[in-house]
Subunit: 253 residues, 2 copies
């Protein structure tokens, strides 16, 4: 008898709002996720089947399926045909989502601050032009920042922004994260491609990050695209590996 009897979290029945703007599948996913976090659905627990859930929540099966799929994509649940849906073992860790480092640190209450080490208009190099999808030599905004958490330098962030953002100022970057500035302009990042690697720090980088010379750096190049598919940011970042780790969940589909 491999599987135990299914569990129906009581919290699912509390307050599903059919008139508000929050999608029903999202509300259901939220409640299931909360039940996992709280331990009401422990690791390995079997969830009630889709049909039964749909009936008991007075929702259609596709809506329930979509809620469950959301959590499968997050790596919290696994599904097997003929078997059922179960909570993944191992405690839940939260991923680095599509936010900037600034917001990651804000969320974990690590008091981020920013030092603008350089900001100027530049002509796009071959690499920058290609990444941003601009003609060679276009005006771009170059900005180099040092990001601190609780006063300790965590990362050096070098970014190139297309001409539409030439007017961002050092002040803007001191107060806000890049993605916050984008949102204030109505620009929403929808997809980003990241290349992660490592290398030894230069003397300059070691000094800025207060690590030994030739210490290892975690590096990430990122190109981000907005909801029209155009590149809005290309950046070359390096992190103190003892203070910053990239966590990802990979799901087979």
């Amino acid at each position: 008898m491999p599987a135990s009897s299914p569990i129906l979290p009581a919290s699912l029945f509390l307050g599903i709002d059919r008139s508000g703007p929050v999608p029903l599948y999202f509300q259901v996913a939220e409640r299931i996720e909360a039940a996992i976090d709280s331990g009401e659905l422990p690791a390995g627990a079997r969830l009630e089947n889709e049909i039964a859930l749909a009936e008991q929540l007075r929702l259609s099966r596709p809506t329930i399926r979509r809620a469950i799929q959301t959590l499968v994509d997050k790596g919290l649940l696994v599904r097997r045909r003929g078997i059922g849906t179960q909570v993944v073992h191992g405690q839940v860790r939260r991923n680095v989502e599509l936010t900037s480092l600034f917001e990651d640190l804000q969320k974990s209450h690590r008091a981020p601050t920013t030092l603008v080490a350089g900001i100027e208009e530049q002509e796009a190099s071959a690499v920058v032009a290609e990444q941003l999808g601009l003609p060679l030599g276009s005006k771009v905004l170059y900005v180099k920042r040092v990001r601190m958490a609780e006063g300790v330098p965590v990362a050096i962030l070098v970014n190139y922004l297309p001409p539409a953002f030439l007017d961002f100022s050092a002040d803007d970057f001191t107060q806000f994260g890049l993605y916050q500035l984008f949102r204030a302009r109505g620009v929403s990042i929808q997809v980003a491609r990241q290349r992660i690697s490592a290398r030894n720090a230069s003397a300059d980088e070691a000094r800025l990050l207060t690590i030994p010379e030739n210490g290892a750096l975690l590096t990430m190049d990122r190109t981000a695209y907005d909801s029209s598919g155009k590149a809005v940011e290309f950046g070359h970042h390096c992190y103190r590996p003892d203070l910053y780790t990239i966590e990802t969940t990979v799901v087979d589909r």
Copy 2:
């Protein structure tokens, strides 16, 4: 007029197989992806709307939506309500999917080979026991491998496997990748959690990877779970950063 007229790739009409085992939405997604790869759908191109696609392909709208969603999740398309669906700018790079390094190298024809540097039964340490969800001191298989591509060492892979796999031999690991061995046992990895960072190489690691002592290493810890949600692998890996880069696409949902 921001958007150009929509494009309907001719290749979509060729051979959709309604009787075979391949889902219709998958076949459609494949064809659209091929049209993007071939340039028939260039960066920025607008796709025909969902209703029209459904009619012309004689499929239902949900099926078309699912096909498109698959490609949005891959970071190839972006959608905006009231606007339409467009191809993301920037050439497409393929992600590291949920495969082992061995298969990544195989696919890119870089002739992977494996040197088994150590394999033995061990008692699970606190960390290993926790990651694998086993009692402290359980028997686990420890295996340390050096992975080469075209004869050049690329990575050092240290893995711990639960008791069910104690019988894997050095020969197995010389011939096959870990995930190939799992599949041969009917174990399919469904989700993995990865922690990526960097550090300086030890003298030993530098020697094995033929890099300067104290050179930077890209590191990844991974815990992988099978389709029943149980941990089947915990590993601690380090890569030569000049020969291996982790590429990911992050999508806002």
